[in-house]
Amino acid sequence: MDVRLSPEQIALRDSAAQAVDKLGPATVAQLDDAERASKLDAAIRAAGWRELRTPSDDGKPWASAVEVAVVAEELGRGLADAAFLGPTLAADLRRRSGAPPTTASETVALVRDLSRLAEADNDADAIAVDALGASSALLLLAGEDGRRVGMVFLENGTTGADLTRQVARPQRGSRATALGGQARPLPADDIARWLSLGLAVTCADLVGSMRGALTLATKYAKERKQYGEAIGSFQAVQHLLADAHVAMEGSRSIALHAAWAVDALPADDALAAGAAAKAYCVRAARLVCETSIQVHGGIGNTWECLAHVFLRRALFSSEVLGGVGANLERVMATRGIGGEYGLR
């Protein structure tokens, strides 16, 4: 056991950090800078980070879920307003289905409450996530011999709570069609592993959002003065930030394990690891992001302060593939003490 990042993983983390520090939105106003956002999108494309889960020559993904999580954490920290989660999950699902990779911009469609992958019989309510620039989304199609991966075309994306990522509806009246080239229905274990990847990546994004929100608030607490002192010198403020730091560190540890588990553990164990991590990170992220707003005081409640952008991003990451409720249910199912969702 050695859970430290390898030199290659550290280099990957550093290049993701550099890209988002240079091209991500440093202020709320910069969210409207389309030229900047398209440069960030181009940088992510050029780096090949969306293709980490496409098949290499032996059919396995180019990189493990740990590399995906390393990138996701930095993109979350820097509020990257370019697609990553959606294309990554689509590439992984496509690879598992045996269908060839696509050059089109593709994401995945989830059920209405975002807690799991959409199935074609409810695709009227399906929502494609992280859909900026995506023309199509993958979902599941039920068939006599099992579930296959299908595709729907998408309407133009819109922004929801998250100001950095878009959602999109399937085009009205369009039917989901099975991906060509699928040799077989998708085994249940593949669906579980895909879900564990989605949980691990959303956890990593949440850890990134927590780091960003905490750094922002800590900096502000050192600068803002009241009663003639920096507010960060008051224990009341210090303890809020210390608790946020602890929540972030615990999240980091359990999220790291969930990312490793995706490719290393049996499918059900990987899913259990992802579910536990997601429940933990979702609760922590709300605490940390709300703390960031509170430490900013009145400023934290204005649109111009980035604190709410972190909170909004965290709200969305939390809902994608389920928040506390759905994932505690998955945890219960794993341990045989209930769980109405079942493990999947």
Partner: protein, 376 residues
């Protein structure tokens, strides 16, 4: 980045698993009943004799000289075997290793590591709790010995201890942090009285207070230099805050597994809220296991004694108290059949945010030393 065992680790795990199958003493989890402490010395020596204690400590003091992450394997296998957690003496070992001379290492560490000698820690006093540096116990040189007078409290396991690591003031004329020295004081002498304190969950063999009334200790039993006591205390408490050093991953894993078994034995008796509380305790215990794996991996290239222990302490406290909440939720306050195990687990959990430095002190340390917020 790999949580999986190397071939050597896997072989060790298998050997440990086979040994545990025949050598589980069947004790309850620590701090739940007096039964655990009564059997702990024997358990310590059994683990040690089989080569499964002090895994990451130097072989010269009786450790196994293995990489730090082997402690994770030990904790995981103790959980899987439903065996009791490993004895928590790592923080004393770290303090003596870091600050003691070769002579101190040779004289004291083998007995501490093997479990042959029992130790307690005389730091806190009635008027020196969070403000530990204001302690008033005095040590005065008299020939080749120091004479110690003072009152220590919250001294865990004082009733069974052969030795006490005592902080005492040796120089009243310098600022308070600089006038403190540390000693290994033999407990078996008539000038020392110890009294047990009954905790809120009813156990009496964990907490104690100790009166030193002219107790004598050889000057060669000073650990470190005169005035080094505060730095030694900081080394000790920084590791006393680490679940990896304490072996508490196994403690929580065992408690959670017992709770899960309890619910599965009569599933109809438990509702949604109880299952949810239990699910949170599962998640929390899993978090701590992952966190300790991370921390001990960070030590593969060498140990440090930094402020991260405060983060670990707060995470450990969060887990202990989540498990406590699950225990009272599942066990209830009016258990039938007279078995109040879960009530005792819950009540004990309240101490975790106080002992080893309160949660409030940990937050101060994190704010100042990690977040680098200004001090007033």
């Amino acid at each position: 980045m790999d949580f999986a065992d190397s071939p050597e680790e896997a072989a060790f795990r298998l050997r440990l698993r086979e040994w545990l199958a025949d050598n589980d003493p069947g004790l309850p989890p620590s701090s739940t009943t007096d039964e655990y402490w009564a059997g702990q010395a024997a358990w310590h020596q059994t683990l040690y004799d089989a080569g499964f204690f002090g895994l990451s400590w130097p072989t010269a003091i009786g450790g196994q000289g293995l990489p730090s992450v082997y402690d994770v394997i030990l904790d995981e296998e103790l959980i899987a075997a439903a065996a009791p957690p490993r004895p928590s003496v790592g923080y004393l070992v770290r303090g003596l290793l870091e600050h003691g001379s070769d002579d101190v290492h040779r004289r004291f560490l083998p007995g501490l590591v093997s479990g042959r000698d029992r130790w307690c820690q005389g730091f806190s006093e009635p008027d020196a709790g969070s403000d530990l540096a204001s302690l008033r116990t005095k040590a005065v040189l008299d020939g080749s010995e120091y004479v110690i007078n003072g009152h220590k409290v919250w001294t865990s396991y004082s009733d069974a201890a052969d030795w006490c690591l005592v902080l005492a003031r040796t120089d009243p004329d310098v600022p308070k942090h600089r006038g403190i020295s540390a000693f290994a004081v033999p407990m078996r002498q008539s000038a020392i009285t110890q009294r047990p304190l009954k905790m809120i969950n009813g156990i009496t063999r964990e907490f104690g207070e100790v009166i030193f009334d002219g107790a004598r200790v050889d000057a060669t039993n000073m650990i470190g230099e005169p005035g080094e006591g505060w730095r030694l205390a900081m080394t000790v408490v920084s590791h006393e805050r680490e679940p990896g050093e304490l072996g508490y991953v196994a403690r929580y894993g065992k408690l959670v597994n017992d709770l899960v078994d309890h619910v599965k034995a009569a599933p109809a008796a438990f509702g949604a809220e109880q299952r949810r509380d239990l699910a949170w305790s599962i998640v929390e215990a899993e978090m701590l296991r992952c966190h300790v794996s991370r921390r001990l991996s960070d030590r593969l290239d060498g140990i440090d004694h930094g402020p991260e222990g405060s983060v670990d302490k707060l995470l450990m406290t969060e887990v202990e108290q989540a498990v406590g909440h699950a225990a009272i939720s599942v066990g209830g306050s009016a258990p039938g059949g007279g078995d109040d195990t879960w009530l005792r687990v819950y009540l004990y959990s309240r101490a975790q945010s106080v002992m080893g430095g309160t949660s409030q002190i940990q937050r101060n340390l994190i704010a100042n030393r990690i977040l680098e917020l200004p001090t007033k």
